[in-house]
């Protein structure tokens, strides 16, 4: 279970997160929606301590920490229970696809190389890259890079995978193949928190949708409810604008 309680974050004078609390049950897929600057990416980054929140509490599995007082050891422990898929992939540029996937296993978790290699190959096969083991990121397309990114996150067998707009740097054709992989991850019953602008994906995959704006959670609930019968005025406004703009491609 992932629980974020009363997290606050200020950048200079800008209050990005104003007392946000989120609860994610095991195996649940939570999609966070919201306009730019609403704090959804910051929330995700705080969970992985890529950003240091100013206050609040975080529970990941059996580890509970205070955002402000977390020690280096606790941060490392949290990071080893979570993994992150970045908007711009952030694959290790100096490592091949398979080395990217193995890095966390071998260096962080001290798993013997042969076993790590076997697991990395399985993960890469699973995302459909069985022919790209020894390619450097610079030799892969955006969609392929993001699939390596997903394999890298997935192979660590984390409590939760955090997806930060995993498809927004991709062209429309590649969005489909990447979402397909994310759906496969969801079907495996892995807990996920996904920040995305893909409404149809959210509708199809999410167990729970959270709508954020201005650093607070405006509304949350099952997708059917949020998409068809939103309660808050701000949610209605956002959805009416987005959904009319939504291009129609099937995934």
């Amino acid at each position: 279970m992932i629980e974020v309680k009363h997290v606050k974050k200020v950048f200079g004078k800008l209050e990005v997160l104003k007392d946000v609390s989120v609860e994610v049950k095991d195996g649940e897929v939570v999609v966070i929606l919201g306009p730019s600057g609403s704090g959804k990416t910051t929330l995700l980054r705080c969970i992985n301590f890529l950003e240091n929140a100013d206050s609040g509490e975080l529970t990941v599995g059996d580890i509970q920490v205070d955002f402000k007082k977390a020690s280096k050891k606790e941060i490392l422990a949290i990071r080893r229970k979570t993994s992150f898929v970045f908007q711009n992939y952030n694959l290790f540029a100096n490592k091949t696809a398979i080395e990217n996937v193995m890095e966390g296993l071998v260096t962080a978790r001290r798993i013997p190389k042969e076993i790590a290699q076997k697991r990395a190959k399985e993960a890469l096969n699973w995302v459909g890259l069985s022919d790209k083991y020894d390619y450097y990121p610079s030799q892969l397309s955006g969609g392929q890079q993001q699939r390596v990114g997903i394999a890298r996150a997935f192979v660590l067998d984390p409590e939760v995978i955090l997806f930060d707009e995993p498809t927004s740097a991709l062209d429309p054709e590649l969005v489909g193949e990447t979402l397909e992989i994310i759906k496969k991850v969801a079907e495996k019953g892995i807990t996920m928190i996904v920040v995305t602008h893909e409404m149809s994906f959210a509708q199809e995959v999410a167990d729970k949708v959270i709508f954020m704006d201005g650093g607070v959670v405006v509304e949350e609930g099952p997708p059917e409810e949020i998409f068809t019968n939103p309660k808050e005025e701000r949610t209605k406004q956002f959805l009416s604008r987005i959904i009319s703009l939504e291009p129609t491609y099937s995934i």
């Binding site: 992985n48 990071r79 711009n88 952030n90 290790f92 540029a93 100096n94 966390g104 962080a108 450097y136």
Partner: protein, 236 residues
């Protein structure tokens, strides 16, 4: 002006005889510079509290002093204080037993640390912060991320700038003859003081430097191709 080929060859041979001294004056400072310069650059880029501010000031101030001035200062300090220091540390031997080349190596090392750290800092800043974040996100510690992800990517970026500094260091090594160390230039002009063929002597020295520099640049090219093989279409 007549060009006496025999005098030129004699100067060339004398210059080559002292070439090992130049090698020591270049490669010892370079090694020291690479190690300490990288550490200094990392401290500044990763903003280690207090230390990063001190280093920024020290490096800026030190780079404002010409090598020859620094060299003269060290030489004077050395000559005045060595015997006291040796006595204090219970070392055997006096100032006469110490090869003066070490003063040159010391001065050039400090210069190398400054210039190398600036080159490496520039290269480190060119690496996207996302690479660090990706390292942390798969559970690597800061040190592991720097060692396994950031440094290998920094090297091919730093090599062109570093090559430039090595070439600068090769040329700067000739100033140590001001405190009486014999290296290529001083060596090549030894016969000149007998034959009066200074022109040939300096041309011979120039030729040695030129060959040395071309070799270094060629090595650097191979090295950056090798270390940068993960990058696409970078150098060719």
């Amino acid at each position: 002006m007549d060009f006496n080929i025999n005098n030129f060859l004699e100067s060339f041979i004398y210059g080559m005889k002292y070439f090992p001294n130049t090698l020591r004056l270049v490669f010892i400072p370079l090694s020291v510079g690479l190690v300490l310069g990288t550490v200094a650059a990392l401290i500044r880029v990763y903003k280690v509290p207090v230390l990063c501010k001190i280093l920024a000031i020290v490096i800026t101030v030190y780079q404002g002093v010409p090598i020859i001035v620094a060299l003269m200062i060290y030489n004077l300090i050395f000559m005045m204080k060595y015997n006291d220091l040796a006595a204090f540390l219970h070392l055997k031997g006096t100032i006469a037993d110490v090869d003066q080349i070490w003063i040159g190596i010391f001065a050039l090392s400090l210069t190398a640390i400054c210039s190398v750290s600036e080159a490496i800092r520039g290269a480190l800043l060119s690496i996207d912060k996302g690479q660090d974040e990706a390292g942390y996100s798969v559970g690597l510690t800061k040190i592991q991320t720097i060692y396994r992800i950031v440094l290998p990517q920094m090297i091919p970026v730093a090599i062109p700038m570093l090559t430039n500094h090595v070439v600068g260091l090769i040329k700067a090594s000739s100033v140590v003859m001001a405190i009486g160390i014999i290296e290529i230039v001083a060596g090549a002009t030894i016969p000149s003081s007998r034959t009066y063929s200074f022109f040939e002597g300096y041309v011979a020295a120039a030729l040695i430097y030129w060959i040395f520099t071309v070799m270094i640049e060629y090595l650097a090219k191979i090295l950056r191709k090798h270390t940068g093989r993960f990058r696409r279409n970078l150098y060719d």
